[in-house]
């Protein structure tokens, strides 16, 4: 059960990062973690470092790219931004999500009626 949960989380996390970068523009790892914390509340209170594995995966897929820069406390860090392919992927995923949630919604609605 927990394995399924982490797979879903993996996929969800990747999507959340993509969406975050799409909406907020280039961010470093810390900034991404803060945004996700806001949005997902208890999903990532501990083990914040796992965001970097997702970031690597997204880079390997070619959906985000990174560049070195300076953070707000004058330290070096990598700044990630979404790529054109990443934007395309995001659009595809959102479409999928809409379709699935629509179907599920209709199924649930059916049950309620009978």
């Amino acid at each position: 059960m927990s394995a399924d949960k982490s797979e879903v989380l993996q996929g969800t996390l990747d999507m959340m990062i993509l969406k975050t970068l799409h909406v907020l523009g280039p961010l470093h790892g810390f900034g991404i973690a803060r945004r996700i914390e806001q949005v997902s509340e208890d999903v990532l209170t501990l083990n914040e470092g796992t965001v970097y594995t997702s970031l690597l995966r997204l880079q390997q897929q070619g959906w985000i790219e990174s560049e070195w820069g300076t953070s707000e406390n004058n330290r070096r860090s990598r700044f990630y931004s979404i790529t054109r392919r990443g934007r395309k992927q995001l659009a595809v995923e959102m479409e999928n999500w809409d379709r699935i949630s629509g179907v599920i919604g209709r199924v649930l609605a059916l049950q309620k009626q009978s």
């Binding site: 594995t53 690597l56 070096r76």
Partner: protein, 888 residues
């Protein structure tokens, strides 16, 4: 390009930079907690807790990278396999080419290793040396036995030195058996195994004490123990009879050691003093001061250099020669000084015999490999070009070039490694074939070919190298592809002409190499035919041979033996199917050679060698059985017995050489001290070499023996199949002469074939390889023409559309082929002449500049090339100009 490189670098520096990232992240977290009111240390701890285990995260990052690489590799492999299945023709052609080309190389290399390169499996073989006498005539063997004994006691530069007399056939009767059998035996000094530094696999090995023969002991080889005694440890303590003495087996030599001569196995090793036993030809040799008959192998004492050892032993030798002088001529030509010859690889008879042919073979397979590689390159080039559009599209869609490079590399590597695996199978088959060639005949060569470390490394290095060299060209080309230009339909690469040039050059090379091989094959076949048509002086067909040994213990006296031989001859002659039968000490091409001192009254010897003549003892009907005519005088008969006047026959060459202008008939000559009168002259028989002219020969009657005659060969001319007859004859002979051993049944034709095994081997192999080369060239040519036609289809379509006749277009393509062919021939013909000259010692009565071979080869090549070009050229006529142009 810069971003590409930077990304490549980034991959390798990732782990370092992640550390920095993590540190920044942790610092920011800590600051946040501090801003929320925590104390700095608390904040740091809380930050760590929130971040999680940094080391674990690093590990996950590494795993993620590795996972990606692996999944990419698997995906590339799947893609490569699918690609191969889609284009099975290409894949099969490529793999077959590789398998045949590399397989042949590996097999010949394994053979070369076994024959030429391998060291003896003994301790520190570099410190072992043979002690040989040497003079103007060259290198000999060991000086006489009394000198060995002197070395053993007085040569301080040698830790120990042993005598080795090998490859004798011992007639033994194991205690468990009632019959005698033969085994390969070697007689050695007691310290033999000590010189070699070997330890027993079972029991113990020989020691100096064993030379006393109290009791007589023997050591078995490991392989003989396994095959003859089934590896039973109870063999220790069992015994066998040899020369009337009981020998006890005390040990087994270590696995992998089979004697000092590569290619021959010493089954049983016994002390050299066993020469003194029994009434046979050996006794007296150990005290003979002047006869060399064995090899001496010594181990250098520690700290002594070979030069110093040689100097010391030479000093001993010079004083020995003063004590036991020989003729001045012998002193100068043979017993002049001592040489130390490295014994690390054992005796070099095998190497001397097979070195040139093996080197020729290696050259041949190298040529075949070159052709194979040229073919592969062409195939790969053609294929890469076909896929240009596919690659261009993928690059345009955003596929990384690095990924494409990986994928192409994987495809090529997969191809080559499948080819390599197949080539190992081919190598096994070729090696088995070669071994079968070598292991026939009376002295079968037993080579142990190991497919071990260095060989496998060689086998793997080849495909790796090939992948890099021949796979690189197409891959590099793809990377230089400009996507837009490629996608545009009907484009022609400007580089295509240079690539076409490479493809064409490769074809020319292939044609030239194939020509060389074909010429070589026809020259070798001609050699073989010439050798077969040499008149050996007798009719070899339908003659069966058998060696008969009379046991010394049963027939110790000469009269008893002569009576036995008589009985044997008469029973054989009455056997149905036997047309004529005779006995002889030696038969043509049996690789034996017996000389004796020959004194002719009135003849001045010109050299020491001139005083020796080849000797054979024959019975009546010997020349009748062989179909060798008598030229003058009378033949030997059954009445030439010991009590009758001693007579002899000479061959033509002997008569001409020793009696120029005189009639030898009636002259009394001396074989050392014995007197014989010449009564007849026979035609020359080639005794040992088809290439060399016959040597002087004297034939003595078997009943007036000069030597002890325990062993003679039976010759039988028969209408039946020789194998069937052998069994019958064996039975018959045993009824009249019990306690006789019959070995090595063979036909005279087979025995003759043995003497030209080199030539037979080389011609077979070169013929096979040249056919292979021809096939490969045809495949290559077909591939290139097909590719040309496919690429130039639009151009041809245009030409056809504006009114050209298909035949004209086909004609122009075929002209292109002919040009390539002509270039290849122009290159190949002079090269083949040069090589033929270099290899002329391998040929027989073949002139290297004889162009008939070149003509045949060129015709064959042209015919095959034209056939290979016809099919793709024919496709031109099927081009529908309209649709082809529409596709533009």
């Amino acid at each position: 390009m810069r971003t590409f490189l930077s990304k490549l670098c980034a991959l390798f520096t990732r782990s370092q930079s992640s550390e920095e990232e993590f540190e920044t992240h942790l610092a920011l977290l800590t600051e946040r907690f501090v801003a929320q009111g925590m104390a700095p240390e608390e904040a740091a701890v809380a930050a760590r807790r929130q971040f999680g285990n940094a080391g674990l995260h690093q590990q996950n990052l590494r795993d993620q990278s590795r996972f990606l690489l692996l999944s990419h590799l698997l995906r590339d492999l799947r893609y490569a396999v699918r690609g191969m299945l889609r284009n099975p023709g290409f894949a099969v052609a490529a793999i077959l080419t590789l398998a045949l080309g590399m397989g042949a190389n590996i097999a010949v290399f394994a053979l070369m290793d076994a024959v030429l390169l391998r060291s003896l499996p003994v301790a520190d073989p570099q410190r072992l040396y043979f002690v040989d006498y040497a003079g103007a005539a060259g290198l000999g063997i060991a000086p006489p036995y009394p000198f060995l004994q002197r070395m053993q006691s007085e040569a301080y530069s040698l830790q120990s030195v042993a005598a080795y007399s090998g490859q004798g056939q011992l007639k033994i009767r194991p205690e468990s058996s009632a019959n005698f059998e033969t085994a390969n035996g070697s007689r050695v000094s007691g310290c033999y195994y000590q010189v070699l530094g070997l330890r027993a696999a079972l029991g113990r090995l020989l020691t100096a004490q064993d030379e006393l023969l109290r009791p007589a002991v023997a050591v078995l080889s490991y392989d003989y123990w396994q095959t003859r005694y089934a590896g039973n440890p109870a063999v220790l303590g069992s015994s066998f009879m040899l020369d009337g003495t009981s020998f006890t087996i005390v040990g087994v030599a270590p696995k992998g050691y089979s004697g000092l001569q590569p290619g021959h196995h010493d089954d049983i090793t016994i002390p050299i003093t066993s020469m003194n036993l029994g009434p046979h030809d050996g006794d007296g040799m150990l005290v003979d001061h002047n006869s060399p008959w064995f090899q001496a192998i010594g181990r250098l004492a520690s700290g002594v250099s070979p030069a110093n050892a040689r100097a010391e032993i030479n000093t001993l030798f010079q004083s020995y020669m003063t004590e036991f002088p020989v003729s001045a001529e012998a002193r100068r030509d043979q017993f002049h000084h001592i040489e130390l010859v490295s014994a690390a690889q054992g005796l070099d008879n095998l190497r001397k015999q097979y070195a040139r042919p093996l080197q020729a073979l290696m050259a041949v397979v190298a040529l075949v490999l070159l052709i194979a590689c040229a073919n592969i390159t062409n195939l790969l080039l053609a294929r890469a070009t076909r896929r240009e559009r596919e690659f261009a599209v993928r690059i345009a869609l955003g596929a990384g070039r690095r990924r494409l490079l990986h994928q192409l590399l994987t495809e090529t590597a997969l191809l080559f490694f499948i080819g390599a695996a197949a080539s190992l199978a081919v190598a096994f088959a070729v090696v088995r074939l070669l071994m079968r060639f070598f292991s026939t005949g009376p002295q079968p060569m037993q080579l142990s070919l190991h497919f071990d470390g260095p060989l496998l490394a060689f086998a793997l290095a080849l495909p790796l190298l090939a992948t890099l060299i021949f796979g690189a060209a197409p891959i590099l080309h793809v990377l230089r592809t400009v996507p837009h230009a490629a996608i545009k339909e009907g484009s022609r690469m400007s580089e295509s002409s240079s690539r076409m040039g490479l493809g064409r050059a490769l074809i020319v090379l292939q044609v030239a190499l194939s020509l060389i091989l074909l010429v070589g094959a026809s020259l070798f076949l001609k050699t073989l035919r010439n050798l077969h048509s040499v008149d050996p002086g007798f009719s070899p067909s339908q003659i069966a041979l058998m060696q008969i040994h009379l046991l010394e213990s049963t027939y110790p006296e000469s009269p008893a033996r002569l009576a036995a031989w008589d009985r044997i001859l008469s029973v054989v002659r009455t056997t149905p199917g036997v047309q004529s039968a005779a006995l002889s000490a030696a038969t043509p091409f049996d690789t034996s050679g017996r000389h004796a001192g020959f004194i002719v009254p009135g003849y001045r010897r010109t050299s020491d060698v001139d005083s020796l003549i080849n000797l054979d003892h024959v019975s009546e009907d010997y020349f009748k059985t062989l179909n060798t005519p008598l030229l003058r005088g009378r033949n030997l008969s059954a009445s030439d017995v010991d009590s009758a006047p001693h007579v002899a026959l000479l061959n033509q060459t002997a008569a001409r050489h020793y009696f120029p202008g005189r009639d030898p008939i009636g002259v009394e000559i001396h074989i050392n001290d014995a007197a014989y009168r010449i009564v007849g002259i026979v035609q020359d028989i080639h005794q040992s070499d088809l290439r060399e002219p016959a040597t002087p020969f004297i034939f003595l009657p078997v009943r007036q023996p000069y030597d002890r005659n325990f062993r003679l060969t039976l010759l039988v001319r028969t209408t039946l199949k020789p194998t069937a007859l052998a069994a019958t004859l064996t039975r018959q002979i045993h009824t009249v002469a019990p306690d006789s051993l019959i070995t090595q049944p063979i036909t005279l034709s087979e025995q003759m074939d043995e003497s030209i095994v080199n030539e037979r081997l080389i011609s077979t192999l070169v013929s096979i390889f040249s056919v292979l080369a021809l096939m490969l060239s045809a495949i290559g040519l077909y591939g290139v023409i097909a590719y040309t036609v496919a690429r130039r289809t639009p151009e041809f379509a245009v030409r056809l559309a504006i009114g050209a006749v298909p035949q004209q277009v086909i004609g122009s393509v075929l002209m292109g082929t002919l040009r390539l062919l002509a270039l290849g021939l122009v290159l190949g013909v002079p090269a083949s002449i040069l090589l033929a000259r270099a290899a002329r010692s391998l040929f027989y009565e073949v002139t290297p500049t004889d162009l008939s071979a070149q003509l045949i080869a060129a015709t064959l090549l042209s015919a095959v090339s034209l056939v290979a070009s016809v099919l793709p050229a024919f496709r031109i006529s099927r081009i529908d100009p309209a649709s082809a142009l529409r596709a533009e």
